[in-house]
């Protein structure tokens, strides 16, 4: 036995727990088993195959938790009106309402308020003018309720008028959530699909200790309120 093998054996012996040594004594013929943790990562190399995975949306469904049942029913109908199934999957195939429940539920409060108040208003309008919940309105009825509030607008400057703000922001969100979904992207030809990819930046040497108890770091309060000045510079935090 070479010297380095002797040393390795001694090292293994030194880190082997007593219970394992006792077991070894009972079964002399069995090969000694190294306890975890072992330096298994030393075996990783560029040829190591990576597991294949899929995005969760392809298999699983979001568990809605933010909007009420009535709000969600309105949002589902609104999503279907704004992005119906056509050449590509629609908002419902993209599970956009459930995604927005997650997204808006985790967004700053001002955005949640915009949605909840907007959905409530839309449902009330449907009951007032169509005598039924918005969830049950026809396409034409929905158009009568929504179209007066549609505006054209430039990036970062959605309408600020009440109701028009909700209608146009919700439309933009529903559209983005749908066209960025797996079903929509899967429906594109390869070239179009490649055109939708962008350079994604991973965290670059993040400070993994930023949240430690001894860190002086404290997070600031969540959201600055939208200003109410003569010239409105409203923000719609996402």
């Amino acid at each position: 036995m070479e010297r380095r093998e002797v040393l390795r054996a001694m090292a293994v012996l030194a880190i082997t727990p007593r219970w394992l040594l006792a077991q070894a004594g009972q079964n002399q013929s069995a090969a000694p088993v190294l306890p975890a943790p072992v330096p298994w990562t030393l075996g990783l190399n560029p040829r190591t195959p990576l597991p294949n995975t899929t995005v969760a949306d392809a298999i699983a469904e979001t568990v809605p938790s933010y909007f009420s049942a009535a709000e969600m029913a309105t949002l589902i109908r609104l999503s279907d009106i704004f992005m119906p199934r056509g050449e590509h999957p629609g908002a419902l195939e993209a599970e956009t309402p459930a995604f927005l429940d997650f997204l808006i539920g985790h967004s700053p409060a001002v955005r949640g308020t915009l949605y909840k108040a907007g959905l409530l208003w839309l449902d009330a309008q449907a009951k007032l003018k169509c005598r039924k919940p918005f969830a049950e309105v026809s396409e034409d009825e929905a158009g009568e309720l929504i179209k007066p509030w549609l505006r054209t607008w430039m990036t970062d400057h959605p309408p600020t008028q009440s109701h028009a703000d909700f209608v146009n922001i919700a439309h933009a969100d529903i559209r983005t959530a749908t066209t960025n979904s797996k079903p929509w992207l899967d429906s594109l030809d390869e070239r179009s699909r490649d055109g939708r990819s962008q350079l994604y930046w991973s965290p670059i040497e993040p400070d993994v200790y930023a949240e430690r108890e001894t860190s002086v770091h404290t997070r600031p309060s969540q959201t600055m309120a939208a200003p109410k000045a003569t010239h409105e510079v409203r923000s719609y935090p996402r």
Binding site: P158, A172, L199, E205, P237
Partner: protein, 523 residues
Amino acid sequence: MSVQTTEVLIIGSGHSGGMAAKVLTENGIPCLMLNAGPIVDVTRQATKKLPDELPFRGFKPPGKLEHVFQASEFNTNVWVDEAEVPYTFNPAHPYNWVRVRLFGGRSLFWSRQSFRLSDYELKGRSHDGFGQDWPLDHAELSPFYSRVEEIMQVTGALDGPAQMPNGNFILDNDPWSGSMQRFIAAAQPKGIAVCKQRRATGRDGLASSVNLLLPDAERTGKLTSIQNAVVREITVDKHTGQPNGCKFIDRLSHREMEVRARVIVLAAGTLETTRLLLNSGLANSSGVLGHYLCDQIYGAGVVASVPEARNAAEHSKLMGGGAILPRFRNIAEKHPKFLRGYGMNVTSSTGGLGANNFAAYGAELDRKMQEYYGSGFHMSIMGEVLARYENHVRIDRQKTDAWGIPVLHVETQYTENEFNMASDAVDTMSEVCHDAGFEVLASNKTPNPPGYSIHEVGTARMGDDPKTSVLNRWSQSHDHKNLWVVDGAAFVSAGWQNPTMTILALSMRASEHLVDEMKKGNL
């Protein structure tokens, strides 16, 4: 180990710090560069992904980077986290402080539009009576601009009027597209010049400090750099009262360290430089440090469509290309509603138009987007924000960043001057579009919040009078002869032009003067 003394300490690695490092080291002066963030390796840290592969389907992660409108889920990790390095402001007057701390700073991601300031900006007070003149003029800066344009490989045409001086360009001789010709014809009667864009092409699509400046410095063997060095304060020799180095904190371990230097060059980016000076209690005998913060108004503009380019028309000669409209207000005549002026970025697009340009949804929207595809014509403002004393930054003693360093409080707002300017820009561009036969689809007169342009300048302005300025005409502190500021903090006014060429020219000029002073033994 004893603290070593380096010749020149450069804080910041963007365009201004990179230029200082290049000039100083090429003249034989050893430099130490500190940068608050890590080195970025695009081959290791970035990969192409589809939006459905990201947790938020491409939406900006909720609550993150609220004041960085430019951020998306794809690039969230390149910006400074507002939670990690917070800043404060009056909620009624928000400020969008857009920061990058990676090695190379914002030079990694800038738009590369490359303009000179003219004497309408450098001598603005002499022209209209507002603010202060710079202590130098275009003739003095011109040779430095020319050398910077050579390094940055700026393309353009020699078609600028006096308010947009021509430079040392790779000439753009491409013909105008048909839509641009119609726009030019409609703008001309209004006295609006339409010029070729001026853009730094750099090398391999990048015109950054990390590929055009720092490699030259490193080749000399005289540049040493430390990444993840978050500078807390500039230290002072208790015997001489002069700066003699700095204390910094390692970003990852939070270990505090210090270095010594004969000369300190600040290039941390306008507001970080001023924050450092304020936290160090230096260079403020005038009392104007932190004041005269200015930038440019962005966000106002017009989106139009060229009717003849719709319905999949052949538009290889009709559409395409971009232009810059140099400031045309308050040059020959005085505008009744605002001082100074604005430039416009103009783009004739061959791609699709955004859904928000149509008041429609569902199948009708799809039809509209298909019909209008390739017919977009975009105009967006770059308007000068006046340098006002009351627009300022100061230290907020109640809040610190992740490394315990007091943060900045930003107090600034736009005035009627800026709002009237934005309104005039939209009205004028809409008229030009109408005269050109274009259909205006959407417009916006409300500027984005201050800071959005990422062109924040001022707060340590230069001037001949030490009582009203922080720096002298060479970007050297009036109070401390071995303290220099080579970034945008030195600006006296913002102008309507992207500031990068001027920052680079000023840094080159300051650094060469610093070399002379060191060789003469004056420092």
